[in-house]
Symmetry: C2
Subunit: 382 residues, 2 copies
């Protein structure tokens, strides 16, 4: 059964980095069996089993295409790097993808990550938010996305999303505009621009944030890879906020992955008349997602409780604010002009005279009631 | 201590109906001490204790104003009636107001209800929804309110709300337009129109649905009475849906009362940029309200689960719908024109040839794949 080893693979049999790079081409993203094999025996031994024909036939189909050293050279040529477990910047949270805590099957950690850009992945993952949503975003969705991205970036959160039009692009653009760290996780190689219309934006992220992928340079995006990419967005962040999503939307799969990884999920509500918000409302109704309406609320979702005081929006002060129930009853009965006597106030308020007298004393102290004509009336301006 | 009995009260000392009518003028709505006294010793004995001076001084302040027979005559003159516990139409659910299940103090059942209109209160309460919200409603809020009211009315639910401008009026108008039962619970006497601008609408409800109040004819609305009125809206319905509410809004107090009565609470989301929806989002975030976006969802909130199938909005069918994960991986690799052989499909999909063959068989059966040129390609139209 010992088959000849393709020359491009010889070096990989002795080096974990190259073996992982090889696996990223041999197996599709989210191939849990491959992830488990690599986790159990290590990337090099697992690779050797495939190469020599002692392992499952399944991963042999692409052996001839594998050239890990060539892929590393290609990512370097694009100004990028290969990041593997054990590297200082490898995000610890990715290990959650190999855990089977919920009784469901694990999602499968990536063998390695191909990265372009100055952002260090470990730092990103330690303080980051996934902002995801539909390609077919409305002006409302893009506006709210920008508000959230700016607010999170200003609070020191990295913004993580895909590279698509719509919500993804709106999130990156807004984060970049305030010099925040923005990271796009791609379903194709980090040396490619998909969709081409976002080429300039992706190039910008490669200069100031990061482009990340688990498939090697040159790889094409497929629907399968987009789906599996979503688990990386979820795993690389402290929580996921879905800003706008149709009833069926890829963004819901990111929310699903986040939930399975025990990361908090938030959803931004919108008009119930807008199909672009139907998926968000579905998350609120069916999945217990947290309703997120502002950047401070998004930060709270990500665990920032207590670091900033969540304040109610400024509201008009009303004259009777702060009164207790019985004080309110008496205050309401106070005439504006001519004073009323105790008996009348007792009758009008439905309280006995003794109680009314005590309450009037408190209302006088709080500036709501004044004595007048031997009786009581409302203070001016109340 | 035996004081003279005012002549207007003599008959009430011997008759529960009149005694309850008297209490509705003696004590303010939500006066829990009075409600408890009446519940414990009965309305007539409790009244006698007050009249003779053996009871607390507190409720004596209005004794001179009490004329229950006069109030009954007044409500009759307005085409209405007095409804008391024991009457066939008395809603059983009002008893929840006297229960202290949550450890909080009870809310206080009304002594009686003053009613105008053909709707029978017991029937209303058995199948009804509170639709409440801000006076300062937006066009969006009014539109959604109308959708909900019509959908609920068509499902046989009575719509219950206040009598205010904005959401209240929009709910009544829409329910009435489809000949549904609509009920306004007022903070003033049912013979009065408040606000005056809604006089025609309230008159319409008095002809086709009902106007309900716990304060006797002629009573003026006060802030206190509006607040306590909200507990009646909550208690007279199977659940409360807040359609639009500012961060601070009376509608939130209705939701709070519903929650304390263990009635389900729903909130309609809206744009996060709209202050008119801030209270609804607050209910979703802080109070665990259910996100309600349509009449079927409102009906489900009210316990209609299973009586109608909740369907997802009609969505575009996509070619790969219904495929499992591995089928999708192979289907994506199928060329559109020239057939591909097993080896190529295995390599492209990252699966072994045996698995690909089995999957192709399933894809052929499901109409996704066809044999071509000794290989396989996508079926036309897929």
């Amino acid at each position: 059964m010992n088959r000849p080893v393709p020359s491009a693979l010889r070096a990989a049999l002795g080096e974990d980095r190259l073996a992982r790079a090889a696996w990223s081409r041999l197996a599709e993203p989210g191939d849990v069996a491959a992830a488990r094999l690599v986790a159990e025996v290590g990337a090099t031994l697992a690779l050797e089993a495939v190469v020599t024909g002692r392992g499952p036939e399944r991963w042999r189909t692409r052996l001839e295409d594998v050239d890990p050293a060539g892929d590393v050279a290609a990512v370097r040529a694009a100004g990028g790097r290969l990041v593997v477990p054990g590297d200082e910047e490898w995000p610890a949270g990715l290990a959650d993808l190999d855990v089977d805590a919920t009784g469901e099957r694990p999602l499968g950690a990536p063998f390695c990550l191909w990265v372009r850009g100055p952002a260090r992945l470990g730092d990103v993952a330690a303080r980051s938010a996934a902002l995801v949503g539909s390609r077919a975003a409305t002006a409302y969705g893009q506006h709210v996305t920008a508000e959230l991205a700016v607010g999170l970036a200003e609070r020191g959160f990295a913004v993580v999303s895909g590279g698509a039009f719509g919500i993804d692009a709106a999130a990156h653009r807004a984060a970049v505009a305030v010099e925040g760290t923005s990271v796009a996780v791609l379903a194709c190689g980090v040396d490619r621009s998909y969709p081409p219309g976002n080429a300039a934006l992706l190039a910008r992220l490669a200069r100031t944030g990061a482009l990340v992928s688990e498939v090697p340079p040159g790889s094409t995006p497929t629907r399968w890879r987009f789906l599996e990419r979503n688990r990386l967005i979820a795993a690389l962040t402290r929580g996921t906020v879905v800003v706008e999503a149709a009833w069926r939307s890829g963004a819901l799969s990111t929310a699903d992955r986040a939930e399975r990884l025990h990361r908090p999920v938030g959803a931004v509500p919108g008009p119930v008349t807008s199909p672009a918000s139907a998926g968000c409302h579905r998350l609120l109704r069916e999945r217990g997602a947290v309703c997120v309406t502002s950047a401070p609320e998004a930060a709270e979702l990500l665990g920032e409780l207590g670091q900033e005081v969540l304040t109610a929006p400024a509201v008009e002060q009303r004259p009777f604010d702060g009164l207790d129930r019985e004080e309110l009853r008496v205050a309401e009965c106070l005439p504006r002009r001519t004073g009323a006597d105790l008996d009348r106030l007792a009758r009008d308020s439905g309280l006995d005279a003794g109680a009314v007298q005590a309450l009037l004393g408190r209302l006088e102290l709080s500036g709501h009631a004044v004595r007048s004509d031997g009786g009581w009336r409302r203070a001016a301006g109340v």
